[in-house]
């Protein structure tokens, strides 16, 4: 599980996110994560813990509602397997300070 869970505070509690009805993040090919990705770096480099390895279903679970649009995931996935788009203009992170 992501180390994030162990930290005292969930960063998501400190930021406003307007959650869209549809996910703006998806995994292109689940088999690639299951068979060809040993370390699954998205499960630890994502600052807000959007990606989790779902052992039961043998795939990456995408908690898109936690996304603050930092843009790390599309560049960080070693096999370019994360399909990331901007959430709709009405949704996503709304910073108050920046």
């Amino acid at each position: 599980m992501n180390k994030l869970i162990n930290t005292k505070k969930d960063p998501i509690d400190m930021v406003e996110i307007k959650v869209d009805g549809i996910s703006h993040i998806s995994i292109k090919n689940n088999k690639l994560c299951e068979k060809h990705c040993e370390s699954r770096p998205c499960t630890y480099y994502c600052p807000t813990g959007v990606f989790h390895w779902d052992e039961k279903n043998r795939r990456i679970e995408v908690l898109y509602a936690r996304c603050v649009e930092c843009l790390a995931c599309p560049f960080g996935c070693p096999s370019g397997n994360i399909d990331w788009h901007y959430p709709s203009g009405n949704a996503g992170v709304v910073y108050k300070y920046g």
Partner: protein, 469 residues
């Protein structure tokens, strides 16, 4: 631009460029008919690059549409830095009299940090507390909103919650194409002579325009940041400041677990900005979690006392495209220019100011293109030339060597920090050794750690890489 057509267009006559309208409707005007256009220029992104471009064009009587995907300008933006006075004045002279800034920075420090110690290098200059100042801490939501408002006040039209999905291309010649507008997420097309892409780090439109090189995790720095509320009086006590003075500390070593990257703390008026950022490839390789790094950083005894009793206000995270010289894409194509982070305009700590400067250059080139009535590559490539001969491009080019160095020695900052702190502990420890013997033992310890020439080159590249911290 033919004004009559433009007026027709604005009055709603002619056709509606809507996804539901039949494309054949366009043929009504004939193939070689120049489409009436709503705007001279569309700018995608109301960050510092986009608003700067929109401001310059609007000041020169161009009709400008500034599109921002966020709820308001700045809603999606973060920075780990300061607003620099001289580059910003290139755009708006004496901006500091009206811009929403936090504190002028008088103190800059670099800490080589270890678990329970730090070697500090710093400077405090009170000349910087007086007009015209040197640089300011700022909150991006306030600053970006203000800059976009400046563009609006000059006549640009700002549209928020407007996500651009694609560019409109028109054919020129047999194989050529020209950008002639944008497509919003609902499929609506908005046409313009020119599009300036200032979409930020993602670069997805720049890529569609063929103005983006491939980006890998070693071109990307990932930052996480927290804004912590603290009364001004406490900030001033803890950072040794008077009212209307600010400080900025950067830290290498401990905050990024020895990787190449940095921690930082900035004083705002009534809050502190705390951040940690490091290369994404090292996060992946070392299996680090950015939030755990932030947590460790906050628990460091030297940070803990600075942020004690501060109330968390906001968490932020974003990447910075720090690919360096080789990654700077071609900056223009027919009907389109790219500015700011989308163009990978980052040099050391500088990014926000380079965004404003490239936005300004793009805006100026657009004004030239408009007066020539020519939006071809030939005219727009003046923008490329302006950027490539700028002072900051020389810095970006000079940074080439340091990027390679850190690829070869990803532990350079860690070693430097470690050696500095161990030597300092020894040096400052009062013991029962003659001073000359103590110096000898420190020197031999440093030499045992790694060769002196490697230590010197780590310092040299550290200096190049971090510039003025």
């Amino acid at each position: 631009m033919p004004n009559l057509y433009s007026m027709l267009w604005r009055s709603g006559a002619g056709i509606s460029l809507n996804k539901n309208s039949s494309p054949s409707g366009l043929l009504f005007f004939g193939d070689d008919f120049k489409m009436p256009m709503e705007y001279d220029a569309i700018v995608v992104g109301a960050g510092p690059a986009g608003s700067a471009a929109a401001l310059v064009m609007a000041q020169n009587n161009m009709s400008v549409l500034l599109l921002e995907r966020g709820l308001y300008p700045g809603a999606k933006n973060m920075f780990g830095g300061t607003i620099y006075r001289q580059p910003t004045e290139e755009l708006i002279p004496a901006f500091w009299k009206e811009a929403p800034l936090e504190r002028p920075v008088v103190t800059d420090e670099l800490w080589l940090m270890e678990k329970d110690s730090a070697v500090k290098i710093g400077f405090t200059g009170f000349k910087f507390a007086k007009p015209p100042y040197n640089k300011f801490t700022a909150l991006r939501v306030n600053f970006d909103s203000w800059l976009a408002k400046k563009a609006e006040n000059s006549g640009a039209r700002l549209m928020t919650k407007a996500l651009v999905k694609d560019l409109v291309f028109e054919k020129i010649g047999i194989a050529g194409r020209k950008v002639s507008g944008v497509v919003l997420e609902d499929g609506e097309q908005i046409k313009s002579d020119l599009v300036i892409i200032a979409e930020g780090a993602s670069g997805s439109l720049a890529e569609k325009a063929g103005l983006r090189s491939k980006i890998t995790p070693d071109d990307v720095v990932l930052y996480v940041k927290e804004i912590l509320e603290l009364p001004a009086s406490k900030i001033e006590d803890r950072f040794n400041l008077e009212k209307d003075e600010g400080a900025r500390f950067g830290m290498i070593g401990y905050p990024v677990s020895g990787a190449i990257g940095k921690g930082g703390i900035f004083t705002n008026k009534n809050s502190l900005s705390l951040m940690v950022g490091l290369y994404l490839n090292q996060i992946i390789y070392k299996r680090l979690n950015p939030c755990s790094l932030m947590q460790n950083f906050k628990e460091h005894p030297l940070i803990k006392r600075l942020i004690a009793d501060a109330k968390p206000l906001e968490f932020q995270a974003h990447i910075l495209p720090k690919g360096g010289y080789e990654q700077i894409p071609k900056l223009s194509a027919p009907g389109v220019m790219v500015a700011g982070d989308a163009a990978m305009m980052i040099s050391g700590r500088r990014g926000t100011d380079l965004a404003m400067l490239t936005g300004k250059f793009a805006g100026e080139t657009a004004v030239q293109a408009k007066s020539a009535g020519d939006f071809s590559e030939k005219i727009l490539s003046f923008y490329d030339k302006k950027v490539r001969t700028s002072f900051f491009m020389k810095d970006i080019a000079a940074g080439k060597g340091s990027k390679k160095y850190y690829e070869r020695h990803p532990d350079a900052d860690f070693l430097l920090s470690k050696i500095a702190n161990e030597s300092a502990y020894k040096y400052f420890e009062v013991d029962l050794m003659p001073f000359s013997a103590k110096l000898d033992s420190i020197i031999s310890e440093i030499a045992n750690f790694q060769s002196l020439s490697k230590s010197l080159s780590d310092i040299y590249y550290g200096y190049l890489h971090w510039g003025v911290f």
